[in-house]
Amino acid sequence: MMAQGKIAASFDAEKARADFTILSRQVYGKPLVYLDSGASAQKPDMVLDTMRDFATSEYANVHRGVHFLSAAATDRYEAARRTVQKFLGAASEEEIVFTKGGTEAINLVAYSHLMPVIQPGDEIVLSVMEHHSNIVPWHFLRERQGAVLRWVDVRDDGSLDIEALDAAIGPKTKLVAITHMSNVLGTIAPLKDIVARAHAKGALVLADGCQGAVHEKVDVQALDIDFYVITGHKLYGPTGIGALYAKKAHLKTMRPFNGGGEMIREVSKERITYADPPARFEAGTPPIIESVGLAAALDYLTGLDRVAVAAHEQDLLAYARQQVRQFNWLRVIGDAPGKGAILSFEADGMHAHDLATILDREGVAVRAGHHCAQVLMERFGVASTSRASFALYNNRSDVDALVAGLSKARGILG
């Protein structure tokens, strides 16, 4: 853990907290303690201001009109694409496809890249800690085209067994689909190592970066990864926008998914020709204002010292982990070395929903349930867990409120 003083020098969490108006509100007469950023992060005022400014001064549809506003809006939309490109370290802006979120980005790869080529018996390797959004699209390929899903387990501490993953990749593996960071365990997957091992056997790799990109700096070129997925609303940006990074070579061969305006070159009664990527995969009017909001959010995030932000979040996780050790009735699920700032747990005799209700009345917002990760729930033999997820705007007082709420819940339910 980094020394407190050093964190304060490069990242001031209290100052950042003031950037988020919603965090100053109260619920049930108590200060809001928002520990559910893993589900969706709050947005700094500058993101909302930027969206409003854009909508009130430069908004029109993109890539269409010749008029002034359409040109201005197109410039902002394409500038947002370059912001995402830089954020992910992509070689070209043409490798960034805007989607409505992470789920659509993964489905795009399933429908456009794999569906046209996958044969019965071909394999997709995935881990048991995937979110449903990185499971269900592959189940579609299993159901409809006879693909085989090969599951890689995690260890009891939640860490990924890289040798087991390597062993699961065989000559028939078409894709390794893996989360960059588990939304339940916080486990970080060693993407560079995974990509090297997969490529050595001729398999491609898709990483679900919906959690990972929030907490870790991503460089898709250094990773040499084939597909990387982000969603805006977990990155302190708006809902309704996400992005798929795909290597240019893959985008060129991918079959269009949605058909409509914007994605074609020519349409006649007899035939169609398609626009070049990324437009080929962006049928219809895209989320324009949201793209500008996403770019603002990424600007906000990259304007901070991200190493210091990560150290701040790690400090909160370590503090919370240490604080809950006093509760011998609480079991933390996921203690992998180097994990991200997510604390999942179950409590003896207390169902996650009862716990979350009591915490809620204390102003503490946590997630309770299966977290869209039922395969992982089954792995750990639980129906649900409670989850506190930490963001850049959280502080140790938030952890203290969580711990006090847990004690109270124990008093009521225990």
Binding site: D354, T357, R361, A368, H370, A383, S384, K408, L413
Partner: protein, 147 residues
């Protein structure tokens, strides 16, 4: 703790959730159904023995879930046992009104008094589904669950 929480987690409810009545499976059930809340993963199975005229001659449940869903299931089986079809139906409708904070004056006085402990749930709209899971499952068992 605040009043709403005290209302929600009354001792009667906690007692039912910790020591559910008529808990377990039933080999010779005439009707049964499984209920599942995909939002939270709560599961409940309701077993019934219905007489020819629809009277609930025996009822049991088993399942996993939060204190509210377990207590509600436990109170339900406790109260439904021995009821005629018409009485059971009135009880269910009254209960569903009660947990949504609606008028439950159709319920007979003594039933309403017993069920009133569940009334606190109406202040927690996100949790109403927990309380109604067992009752909906009971209804499914009666209507479509003949074994």
């Amino acid at each position: 703790m605040d009043n709403a929480l005290r209302e929600l987690y009354q001792e009667v409810i906690l007692d039912h959730s910790r020591h559910p009545r008529h808990y377990g499976s039933m080999d010779n059930a005439s009707h049964k159904a499984e209920g599942y809340n995909p939002l939270c993963g709560d599961k409940v199975t309701v077993y019934l023995q219905l007489d020819a005229d629809g009277r609930v001659s025996d009822i049991k449940f088993e399942g996993k879930g939060c204190a509210i869903s377990q207590a509600s299931a436990s109170m339900m089986v406790d109260m439904l046992k021995g009821r005629t079809a018409a009485e059971a139906d009135r009880l269910m409708k009254g209960f569903l009104h009660l947990v949504k904070g609606e008028d439950a004056s159709d319920l007979p006085e003594d039933d309403r008094e017993r069920l009133e402990v569940m009334g606190g749930i109406s202040a927690f709209p996100m949790r109403v589904k927990c309380a109604t899971l067992a009752w909906h499952t009971y209804k499914n068992a009666v209507e479509e669950g003949a074994t």
